[in-house]
């Protein structure tokens, strides 16, 4: 494999009550998915603000995957519905800024969905790989952030 081939870095904001547990399940099931994702556990996707997503891109993420509970199944009643609206708002804002909106995606999964989660992550990485690197990486002034990000 070409050492310089583009390997996307995806930041995953995963809800503690569902997606994070399904990632755990995927691990227990010994399911394979590409190692390009860095999963951050959040108490609820409703906690995620628009600038969380923007700052991920600002600091070099090629894509952001938000995974919340199935609609109707939020531990906090409607946190995932709030997140859905915010993600949609951020996708529009990204398009306005000049970053492809496909780099940000929200999915709804339950704690029992280990295999679908592995498939979702694989598909997200495929999408971002086709889009290419975060356009900010080709601009100056981001070298330090990129380096820091890769080292995480």
């Amino acid at each position: 494999m070409n050492a310089h081939a583009f390997e996307p870095l995806i930041v995953g904001f995963f809800c503690h009550y569902c997606a994070y547990a399904s990632a755990d399940l995927a691990g227990s099931m010994r399911l394979q998915y590409p190692p390009n994702i860095r999963i951050i556990r959040t108490p609820c996707t409703g906690r995620l603000e628009v600038d969380f997503y923007l700052r991920a891109f600002e600091n070099g993420a090629d894509g952001v995957l938000v995974a919340g509970c199935l609609e109707g199944g939020c531990h906090f009643i409607e946190g995932n519905l709030v997140a859905k609206r915010r993600v949609n708002q951020t996708r529009d804002l990204l398009a306005e800024i000049g970053i492809e909106k496909e780099r940000l995606r929200m999915v709804n999964i339950s704690a029992a969905m280990g295999r679908p989660l592995a498939d979702i992550i694989t598909d997200m990485i495929k999408t971002v790989r086709e889009l290419g690197p975060n356009p900010l990486k080709s601009t100056s002034g981001n070298k330090k952030e990129q380096k820091d990000f890769v080292q995480i």
Partner: protein
């Protein structure tokens, strides 16, 4: 409450082109309530501008700050140091806030980040509607508390126009006919006879058409 909305990011990038260090200054009063220029929006717009400016080929260094109120010198004071150490200010206040900052700092470019839209209220969650055009000579008492100048698309003082369908405005079909509302309201408070009076043309000198408006309260001056 003053209601405003954000300018688009490409517009802001065009405005800020050539600047290096910019203070994005939010206001904690009206524009915070209408989700256009408070602390949360300062954070979002700053992040968006950092990304967009880098994509446009110039990297903006942005400092973020939100003060209680931009239209008052007492509160502007709290932003003094931040304003001094930046090349320019992008104010997320209303038009009054932007001008208050600009007057206070004659040597500092101050740009408006919002389009100040109208005086209105929160009708339902995340929906604001215009209620007042600040005409300077209020006639609300004659119309049961519903302003025909603001809420009638034709600004009619002697309505209705005859074009409304059911209770909807013919110009803006998604809005209720203001004159229907006025009728119902006056009927409810037993003042329907007010509709029989013909209102003379309004004197617009008290509005913006009469030039800059200033109110002086001698009893409170020092």
């Amino acid at each position: 409450m003053i209601v405003a909305e954000r300018k688009t990011i490409p517009e802001l990038i065009e405005i800020l082109k050539g600047q290096k260090k910019v203070l994005v200054l939010g206001c904690g009063t009206c524009v915070t309530v209408c989700l256009a220029g408070g602390e949360r929006e300062v954070s979002i717009i700053s992040s968006a501008l950092r990304i967009a400016s880098r994509l446009a080929g110039f990297s903006l260094q942005i400092e973020e700050l939100t003060i209680e109120r931009q239209c008052d010198n007492v509160f502007i004071e709290k932003a003094a140091e931040a304003i001094e150490r930046n090349d320019a200010v992008l104010s997320l206040g209303c038009g009054a806030g932007v001008q208050a900052i600009a007057e206070r700092y004659p040597a500092k470019p101050v740009y408006a980040g919002l389009n100040t839209a109208f005086l209105g209220i929160l009708e339902e969650r995340a929906v604001w509607t215009e209620k007042c055009v600040a005409c300077g000579a209020c006639v609300l008492h004659e119309y049961g508390g519903i302003c025909p100048i603001t809420r009638c698309a034709k600004h009619m003082l002697n309505g209705p126009c005859g074009g409304s369908r059911e209770d909807r405005c013919e110009v803006l079909p998604d809005r209720p006919c203001a004159w229907q509302l006025i009728y119902q309201r006056l009927k409810g408070i037993g003042q329907l006879d007010r509709l029989k009076q013909i209102k003379p043309p309004k004197n617009w000198n008290a509005s913006i058409h009469g030039g800059l408006r200033v109110i002086v309260r001698e009893d409170h001056r020092i």
